[in-house]
């Protein structure tokens, strides 16, 4: 059985439907637009939402970067890049500055984004209220009427129990003063990069069939309380490879005794800083 798949795999009609959803998502920042998500040849939970977005955005002149956990070389990032190499034959890069589209899972690059860039996020659970109210009928109403009291109650309970907000990643944000949104499972360290960003950010959840977006220069505020402000992760160490002390660090266990070292999670950023340092 020989078959010619369309450019970037998806058929044109599916792309149209996804493109219409992206435009609506951009017009209503933070609102989750339901869309007729298609089955992709990669499994649900492995980036099908992001892949459908990228497939609908891509043109011949685009330069694509795909990262997972901040790294270009993680197996799933490699697999997704392979998919687009095969189906769209576009240019692939590891260099953040060269990319026009950056598809990511769980990180925002350390290199500042540019206004020409589009960030595409793979989202497992788009609903920030999912673990407070799993029923779609109910949480849709909560968004409709901005009834976010239960979310604040949950944060308040955290503070009562732990004297802090106990969320470390997928930390909910308030977008343009209207919708509470999941920034996808990025560490809260990356949340501030969304606020008044010059790039556009599009989020795709394939299994849950939703698309949402944050346009450039839009307020994205991490939820907090006046007396318990939003706080970022901090490390006492700096990166063992490039020496950066302003980046998100991964912990590497180097021997059986559990000796630890810390390195940048954004591998491309790290190697570039190191190259510069050598010169």
């Amino acid at each position: 059985m020989s078959l010619q798949y369309n450019f970037a795999y998806l058929d044109e009609q599916s792309k149209k439907m996804i493109r219409r959803s992206i435009l609506k998502a951009m017009a209503i920042p933070g609102f989750q637009v339901p869309f007729g998500g298609r089955e992709m040849p990669l499994p649900y939970g492995w980036g099908t939402g992001g892949i459908q977005l990228t497939a609908s955005l891509l043109g011949k002149e685009d330069c694509l970067k795909v990262i997972d956990q901040g790294s270009d070389d993680t197996t799933n990032a490699v697999s997704i890049k392979d998919f687009f190499k095969k189906t769209a034959r576009i240019e692939i890069t590891e260099n953040t500055e060269d990319a026009t589209i950056i598809q990511t899972r769980h990180r925002i690059p350390e290199t500042p984004l540019t206004p020409q860039q589009i960030m595409v996020y793979q989202v497992p659970i788009p609903e920030p209220l999912q673990f407070i109210e799993p029923k779609r009928q109910e949480n849709a109403k909560m968004h409709a009427f901005s009834e976010y009291g239960t979310m604040y109650v949950k944060l308040y309970e955290d503070i009562a129990r732990h004297e802090r907000i106990a969320m470390a990643f997928d930390y909910p944000v308030h977008v343009n003063g209207r919708y509470i949104m999941s920034p996808s499972p990025i560490p809260k360290f990356d949340n501030p990069k969304l606020h008044q960003s010059c790039a556009m950010h599009i989020f795709g959840a394939g299994r849950e069939k939703r698309i949402y977006a944050v346009p450039p220069y839009t307020d994205v505020v991490s939820l907090d309380f006046e007396d318990y402000p939003f706080e970022l992760e901090e490390w006492d160490e700096s990166c063992a490879i490039c020496g950066s002390d302003q980046t998100f660090l991964d912990e590497i266990i180097t021997d059986d005794e559990g000796t630890r070292m810390f390195v940048c999670s954004d591998t491309e950023f790290c190697s570039r800083v190191r190259q510069k340092g050598k010169r």
Partner: protein, 192 residues
């Protein structure tokens, strides 16, 4: 019958990306980025947007007649059904800017489904960034100025009345020749 896109795959992709940039950056004037010959009463930018986005699932309303060659051209290339009522339209094309008084009769969506609203494409006599219309809101760093030739001030005032209904609303795309500029529902408009 005029032909549609020279390349369905790449022209519709190009037009979409230009439109996306416009929608994400209200007030930024974008070129459609392709050559397109559209029928007499449709600007190429309007034709390109509709060819790129319409299909059999998207009812289109227009002030052009259902049997006009413009609508026939769009239907031939996209299969989009013609909506006789503004309320039923997912996309709308207003070519007579003088007759445009308000967005009232178009569909603003619902609180649970604000995305099921009409996207209104409006012809103008020209667009540039040297006008008295001041835009602010998401997608705009500080502010952006716009001139929309032919568009009545009263229309923009009426539209401002609908901002309080957010997230309900109608997203606007103004076109002239090969150019387009968007004013989505989140954008505040002042006339200085």
């Amino acid at each position: 019958m005029l032909k549609g896109f020279a390349s369905e795959v790449f022209d519709s992709q190009k037009v979409f990306r230009q439109l996306l940039a416009a929608m994400a950056n209200p007030g930024r004037i974008m070129d459609i980025g392709i050559d397109l010959e559209s029928p007499e009463f449709i600007h190429p930018a309007a034709g390109a947007i509709l060819l790129a986005l319409l299909d059999f699932e998207t009812p289109l309303w227009s002030d052009l007649e259902n049997d006009s060659k413009e609508i026939q051209w769009l239907r031939f290339h996209t299969g989009a059904p013609y909506a006789y009522a503004k309320r039923n339209a997912l996309f709308a094309l207003q070519t007579d800017y003088d007759a445009l008084e308000s967005v009232d009769q178009f569909n603003p969506g619902t609180l649970e489904a604000p995305h099921q609203s009409t996207t209104l494409i409006v012809h103008t006599r020209g667009v540039d960034n040297n006008g008295r219309i001041r835009l602010t809101g998401p997608g705009i760093q500080t502010d952006k100025f716009l001139k929309l030739k032919g568009i009545k001030e009263s229309f923009l005032h009426q539209r401002t009345q609908t901002l309080k209904d957010y997230p309900l609303g109608v997203d606007l795309i103004f076109v002239w020749d090969h150019y387009l500029v968007s004013i989505p529902r989140t954008t505040s408009v002042e006339i200085l």
